[in-house]
Amino acid sequence: MSYFARFAAQLAVALVVLELLSRVVLGHKPALRYDKRYDRLSAPNQNVVEAQEGFSRGRTNELGNLDSPMPSPLPAHAILALGDSLTEARQVGHADRWPERLAALTQREVYNAGQRGWSPANALGYLQAEKQRFAPEYVVLQVSGNDIDDMVSEKRPHVVEGVEGLSLKVPKRGKSGMAAKINKAKELVSRSALGGNLITAGLTVLGAGNDGSGNALGCSPPTAFNTKAANWLLAQIRAEHAKTVVIYLPLLNYYEGCSDKCTGAAELFRNAAATAGLPFVDATAALCSSFAQTHQPLHGFWNSLPGVGHLNSEGNDVVAHVLADYFAGQKAAP
């Protein structure tokens, strides 16, 4: 056998092993699909292996959510959790995600419809499209500092201002031309866990890692338009579902006195919720209190930077307790 034939044979075996390893431990992101009403969703019924931050294995349900199947309509007293990757919480195991813990604490059914990269703009589109189908008693809408940029970003569903006032705009995803071909090719390669990982890694190396749909947890200082957009979005969400609770999850800087990296974000959403007449729950104090007691940041994992990125298992637990306290208060209220 020639040198190159032997090399090709060995490489083929190695690639198969790497593909299997990717599917089991090295990481497997599900492909994406797009809905014209609320944009991106993970593809349904796909295996997911998260290994970059924390480690978890799971499977998307028939709707593309990382949760068990969602009946339609939902059972009485059910809660629908909407938010971004902090709600989807793929970095921790299913039982450790805050919606699942909240279910255990409140004895209610809680359905996790969080999707990485979502902002309240996606949530509004989702509620407008799917409210009748599921009809939960409560919606818990998770917001964070990164939503300030996301809800006005043209790469995502965003708020625009026209002559008739504010409205929601969902970007058109390429169905023809080069963009569509590239998307198709990416989707094809992404069927292989190894291929998907290499696309992501390659794009990162080339400096094009964040295509606007990922889960970059950064934020800019709020502008006047951000305030306007947040007010409008929460008012619209209130109109779609009156029993919506807004929970604010901060991105904390643990190295400098446990402060929110997104200055002004909590205020912005608190005011927007008050204007819309929605209850607002802020998890900042509880997260910082836990950190003060244990010295362990509630964000970050043993395989990522401490205090950076997504909520870890303890962080999800704190959030679940904060929300459970809110619902307990509601129950106790006359």
């Binding site: 090399f7 060995q10 490489l11 190695a14 290499l198 010295h295 395989n303 930077l305």
Partner: protein
């Protein structure tokens, strides 16, 4: 354009192809020289003129030393040393000196912020070894300006060594160096080994090290120990990885560089460590500084002082910061103490043999704290944490660092049993291993770390 970056991985095959296509040796040399200047100019093209000018001065001074009457040779040598040390001082130490004077006297001398030409510490030491060797009559200076400039600017060693002495390199120019298959394969294997050391190990350790040394007070003692262990591994894999890449590159073009590392963390004592760590620097310091100071020829006490002084200056060579001076000073003291002990008790007992490796490693790790910490305040916090004072803090058993340390320990144990890890691309399995390693590298290597630690020196 660092060796592990995309631009370099494009630059290298182009240069190799160009050199392979050229039939005449002189044309090949000119092509490599031009490529070296392009490589250096990638950071700042103005420093190319500086490099050529510095080489020209030493080329001329070496000829003057050889031609001068015995009594005048010393004068020309002093001029060469003054020129090289002056360049080094002007670029590297003036700002630091002014800062220290201001602090001591309360004056307000203006701050000087001169951009540091990359590799200045390396090529000035190479130039000095050339003129000193000529002065000592150990090497005849080359008559060809191009040969000396070529040896100084040859891009594989230009930025961070190894310190290739002219007496080692210039004789190689007497031979022709066409691109040959065997050299290419061997060079590629060594280069790949270095590339993987850097990107798979050193860059992963860097993530842990940067976080821990940025906020040592934030972390628990266990995590700080992990950070220091990770730095111990990082600096070895970063620098030895760089050296492998440099040696591999030189080999691809048909040249030989001296080895710069010999598994230093397996050393049984600190003297042994310095025989195995950054060999081209430690042997330079021995041959041109320690021996010039009198070496061991002026009595026992003076030997210890010379050792300590050599290492102190060796520390300062690494950078204009008192932390480097303390690092060098500690190593100097340890070398002197080891000399004293081994002179008094020449035969190491069973206990010394058994504890030699871990104790040497522990000492080296503690010294690295001063090398890595940006200030004494940070070093002091790290050392307090290592001593389990104020030990409470965030526990962060960073998985990648632990896995990397496991791999590093495994590799060292393997080597300790007289085995060697080497790629040989004549066997396809090694090419497969390389491709798989590159895929894993691409998937997991952090993208925020690139520059080699020794570039700053």
């Amino acid at each position: 354009m660092i060796f592990s970056s995309l631009p370099f991985l494009i630059f290298l095959p182009i240069v190799l192809l160009l050199v392979a296509l050229l039939k005449q040796e002189q044309h090949r040399r000119i092509a490599i020289f031009a490529a070296s200047l392009f490589f250096y100019g990638w950071w700042d093209w103005r420093f190319c003129f500086f490099l050529v000018a510095a080489s020209t001065i030493d080329y001329w001074l070496a000829l003057k030393i050889q031609q001068a009457a015995p009594i005048q040779k010393r004068r020309w040598l002093l001029l060469s040393l003054a020129s090289n040390l002056g360049i080094l001082a002007a670029f590297k130490y003036v700002g630091w000196l002014l800062h220290n004077i201001n602090q001591l006297t309360g004056w307000n001398l203006p701050a000087v912020d001169i951009p540091l030409p990359l590799g200045i510490s390396f090529f000035t030491f190479q130039a000095m070894s050339y003129t000193i060797d000529v002065y000592r009559g150990q090497f005849n200076p080359t008559k060809r300006w191009f040969d000396f400039s070529f040896s100084m600017s040859f891009f594989p060693h230009l930025i961070a060594g190894p310190i290739v002495r002219a007496s080692h390199f210039i004789p190689q120019l007497d031979k022709e160096h066409p691109i040959e298959r065997d050299n290419l394969l061997d060079g590629l294997a060594t280069f790949s080994k270095g590339f993987l050391k850097k990107t798979l190990l050193a860059d992963q350790f860097a993530v842990c090290v940067d976080v821990v040394f940025a906020n040592p007070a934030f972390f628990s003692s266990g995590t700080v120990w992990l950070g220091v262990a990770a730095y111990t591994a990082q600096i070895y894999y970063d620098f030895s990885g760089y050296t492998d890449m440099a040696i591999g590159l030189a080999r691809m073009f048909g040249f030989q560089f001296p080895n710069n590392f010999d598994h230093p963390y397996l050393s049984g004592n600190i003297t042994d460590f310095w025989r195995r760590w950054h060999i081209s620097l430690s042997s330079w310091l021995r041959d041109y500084l320690y021996i010039s100071l009198g070496g061991n020829r002026k009595g026992r006490l003076r030997t210890y002082v010379n050792l300590a002084l050599t290492m102190l200056l060796g520390g300062l060579w690494h950078g204009a910061n008192w932390t480097f001076v303390v690092w060098g000073g500690l190593h100097g003291l340890a070398l002197a103490m080891h000399k004293l002990i081994s002179e008094r008790w020449p035969n190491p007992g069973q206990v010394r043999r058994l504890l030699g490796v871990p104790l040497t490693l522990l000492f080296v790790m503690v010294c690295w704290v001063f090398f890595r910490a940006p200030s004494f305040d940070v070093a002091s916090i790290v050392l307090r944490k290592m001593a389990f004072i104020d030990s409470v803090g965030c526990d962060w058993p960073y998985v990648q660092a632990l896995l990397g340390l496991g791999a590093a320990i495994g590799a060292h144990v393997y080597v300790a049993f007289d085995r060697r890890l080497a790629f040989d691309f004549r066997k396809p399995i090694f090419l497969t291993i390389l491709v798989v390693a590159l895929i894993i590298d691409l998937m997991f290597a952090p993208t925020s770390h690139g520059a080699f630690i020794y570039f700053q020196f």
